[in-house]
Symmetry: C2
Subunit: 250 residues, 2 copies
Amino acid sequence: MTVPRAETEYVDRRSLHERIAADLRDDIMSGELAPGASLPSTARLKERFDASNATVQKALQLLKEEDLVVGRAGASVTVREHRRRTVAPAALSTADRWLTEAAKHGTHARSVLRDVAEVRPPADVRSALNLPVDGTALLRSQILLIDDEPAELVDCYYPLAIAEGTALMERRRIKGGTPALLAELGHSARRSVDRISAEIPTQEQYRSLRLTSSTPVLRTLRVVHGAGDSPVEVTVMVKAGHLYELRYEF
Amino acid sequence: MTVPRAETEYVDRRSLHERIAADLRDDIMSGELAPGASLPSTARLKERFDASNATVQKALQLLKEEDLVVGRAGASVTVREHRRRTVAPAALSTADRWLTEAAKHGTHARSVLRDVAEVRPPADVRSALNLPVDGTALLRSQILLIDDEPAELVDCYYPLAIAEGTALMERRRIKGGTPALLAELGHSARRSVDRISAEIPTQEQYRSLRLTSSTPVLRTLRVVHGAGDSPVEVTVMVKAGHLYELRYEF
DNA sequence: GCTACCTTTCACAAAAACCAGTAAGGTCGC
DNA sequence: GCGACCTTACTGGTTTTTGTGAAAGGTAGC
């Protein structure tokens, strides 16, 4: 019968090995533990976190599954090469720019068109498109693969008034990219607004992005405005948190 | 003795009630379930997720702890008012701008100076400041409170060459804000670069921000460049993921 | 080859997650 | 006020996870 005090006693409810992993992960991601460096030994970590051998091991197991560290029996657990993919909004704007960008870094990237359909978009997209509650839009759903690993989910929504009768409605890749096509149609982008948030992945996202443990996702809701500031395209991009970093300059 | 197939069988390893909470949370955050709306009944959720009564309740319990929903016995579990705080980079630049911004929205915000000290900054900050591995910088660590709830951790790092002998080194609030002071010192901001990532909170962050369940955090590493493009200030901002949304326009 | 240090693995107690079912009691439309 | 539907709470029982401690076995320097 423990009596929790209101303010003073605030505890982390995650399991011990998750907490240990969280702190070590931060040391790695912040660069405190650089790639190639060794983590403190199990004995040392036992001390630092006041945990048992196996619990520390389980924490390390999590980091291994995230491909952050490798352990060799007898030697030490070392930090792997893990540079996060930095992506600036300009590079984001089309999947194609993306692909060429990736090629420069020696990685193989490709996008797969998952679905093209007229759907009732989620409420936040709907309001960005100025649609009524029962309004529909054209959805082009893609998934980006880097070295054949799923890396990002991209859902592009277009107003039907714009998409109707164009190549956008066809279930195949747009040659030259959608921005070029939209520009041809007289809807070139004048202004873009990104809204970024960190989310806990849904089951769908978890499976599609092949996430491990409790990785968060980075969600970007992009509204592209055309002439007269009317919305031309709304894109929802969901990336695995540990793979990406967004870069904005101003 | 189950034989896991390599590619096809990829499963979500989170506990069932966490997965249920994740999907419901997405319905709420995307606006699918608007504030005031009722969630499906326990019986319906049991069906939808193929779970038992108690498991569904546990999922709902998580959402209640996040203040996303309220349940009244007999009636239904309804979505609470939860508008996320949207914050644009301009409004971010000083804690003071922040405070006046908050006042406009009828909320009470204040910042507490936690610490002022010369420290060896984390590696990513260090490299942004062009410091050697053993270099130090001045840290001004603050925490932002909104309605007396911790909302954001702000760590500002300044090169010693700039901070030395100025009010920055004193353990008290800067009148007029640090940007104004820096400008006076001849280090006005010419260019800023933000790098945004989603992270799993460390134990420190978890406790300081009073996080619940497995909420991620939104981390912004801002590098402010002055004349000659030399770094004048590096700020690390860590916000609770469910409270914030970043907005960038270009 | 020896030794110190390290990771890894195994056996086992305690805790929790989960299920099925039941029951108490609140809310709302009729 | 009645009944349908709802949230909440509790029981008992199985399975999985979390945690501990000790032992097995690899690595590297001497």
